[in-house]
Amino acid sequence: MTTLEKMARLAALSRFDSLGPFPGRKIDPAKVEVLGRGTKHDICSSTSAKRREEGIYRFGDVLRGGLCHSFTGSGRCVSLFKTLYTNACPHDCRYCVNAKSSGSSRTFSYSPEELARTTVALYRTNRIEGLFLSSGIGEGEEETMEEMIETVRLLRGSYGFGGYVHLKILPGSSRELVREAMELSDRVSVNLEAPSESRLSELCPSKDYQRDILARQRYVRDLSREVDLPAGQTTQMVVGAAGETDREIFDRLLFEYDVLELKRVYFSAFRPVAGTAFEGRDKEQSWREHRLYQVDWLRRVYRLEDEEITAAFDEDGFLQNGDPKVAIARELFDSPIDPNSASFGELIRVPGIGPRSARRIALLRKKRRIERMRDLAALGVATRRAGPFLKVGGKCATTLDRWMG
């Protein structure tokens, strides 16, 4: 312990600037609202960045596991300052409030300095973990992308900001700009929006799936062999706006992970927005987004085979509103398995057992046999869900199927 006086003296030696909007020049709240609202359906998190150098501390840093700074009323985590650079856009995406035909009357734009100062101020007050910067096309892809990059350059250079930055690559950006964006950011992303060319043409006829989107994703994949991109490349799809099936989305997801080497694929259930061409369409159920994330998790974290996951889809290629892991386990297990002899791969396929509890089971059974269900509960297994698939102490849970069969 030391005295406050000594600490105050030392702290005064370090120059401190709270930054924020320039004193006397207030930011128009309507601009903050409109450009913030423009990213409301963009999904992102501050996880997976791992660029801390041990023992070197600078202004701002990232936590590998991410950090939620608040939650909205609907329960969505607010981690980053998510905003558009400008809401002016010549594209005509039918679901988007910024589409040129949507009739949105006011267009706004930040300046790089204004946005960088605001980000630093929000970070200093611990309201955000970093910046998520997307944008409409504005005057042109190259110009707007250059200004977005300039914002991050100011953050990293002038303000020495070491926090998290996720930058959207605008469709049609040049390879050189993609490289610059990658050099300055933790994560970059190009939004797919739809699982195929034909589905995208329904959503956004002015975008070219191959040239505007997939080609940019390939740039990022190829460049990441030379440029360090700590949190990798991600993408996002709108679910339920173009009549696509979950199977189509899953097939695209496999391509994105296996061929384009993406870190994450995010989903956003379609919500009709007033003033857009899709205003009258039905909103998509949010459970569909949730089930797609579960399937994504089974593939990415649980490492289930693609053929196994296929069992979760119905004949029409849709997921039901139930845990896909249960549907897969019903196909997979003919009889209950004994946790004392099951392999790690088998354990992880049982609903209610995750990677952590499977590891705990594997470690415990080296010491002794597992003979009671409550032992599994103590290891973190959700026993009500796992019960029907397990045989513990020679006993199986009674299920309706077994009772009838």
Binding site: A8, R76, L364
Partner: protein
């Protein structure tokens, strides 16, 4: 595995921790804590996770405000004794800036310098801030033009602060998707306990408001 090497230290920070529990924990390894089915050890595990959870929540939810030059302070009233864990975290994020956190009874100050952390424990955040205010005033009297500039800067800072709070409120509302049928769609929430512990205001949205807020 989630149990860290310093689990005994974390356990000691739990509000219900005592010497007997700590002695018991010292005989265990992180692996024992993770894999044991003994109810006593399971209880220890839950206590360690509770402390870890609160550290993580406070890192995210505490809001900081500048106090003159070189000081950031924030209200924090944690359930467990985690003050320095959180203060050190912010000191790491803002090297050279003194972090003061606390409530009316306790305060924790931390500063990361080239030689490591300097820490000070106090009897309340307002007392600590008053003391810092006195020190700053005394320095200003001794100083010359530079301190005058600093005072002007501090005035501008408070103006920026007020603007920033408004900006945040507008931004936060812009991200909201109202809960349908009174249910939260995406599951995340800030517990009432955390709202109180971190003194959050803007985030006490519709779903978190109480009748008392309107009176």
């Amino acid at each position: 595995m989630r149990t860290p090497e310093n689990f005994v230290e974390l356990l000691a920070r739990h509000k219900n921790s005592d010497r007997r529990l700590i002695e018991h924990a010292k005989r265990l390894t992180p692996l024992d804590i993770e894999t044991s089915t003994d109810p006593k050890v399971v209880r220890l595990r839950r206590m360690i996770y509770a402390v870890q959870g609160e550290i993580q929540r406070m890192r995210g939810f505490v809001r900081l405000s500048p106090l003159g030059r070189g000081v950031l302070w924030g209200p924090m009233s944690p359930e467990h004794e985690i003050g320095f864990y959180v203060a050190d975290f912010f000191a790491r994020r803002f090297p050279g800036t003194m972090i003061v956190l606390g409530d009316e009874r306790r305060s924790w100050a931390s500063l990361l310098t080239g030689s490591g952390y300097l820490r000070s424990r106090g009897v309340g955040v307002s007392t600590a801030l008053e003391e810092l205010g006195r020190l700053t005033d005394a320095e200003a009297k001794e100083g010359g033009e530079e301190e005058e500039e600093d005072r002007a800067e501090a005035g501008a800072e408070s103006e920026v602060e007020a603007g920033l709070a408004q900006l945040w409120e507008v931004y936060y509302q812009s991200q909201d998707q109202p809960p349908r049928d009174g249910r939260r769609t995406f599951g995340g929430r800030i517990s009432r306990r955390s709202l109180k512990s971190a003194g959050m205001e803007t985030e006490r949205g519709r779903a978190n408001r109480r009748l008392g807020d309107f009176i």
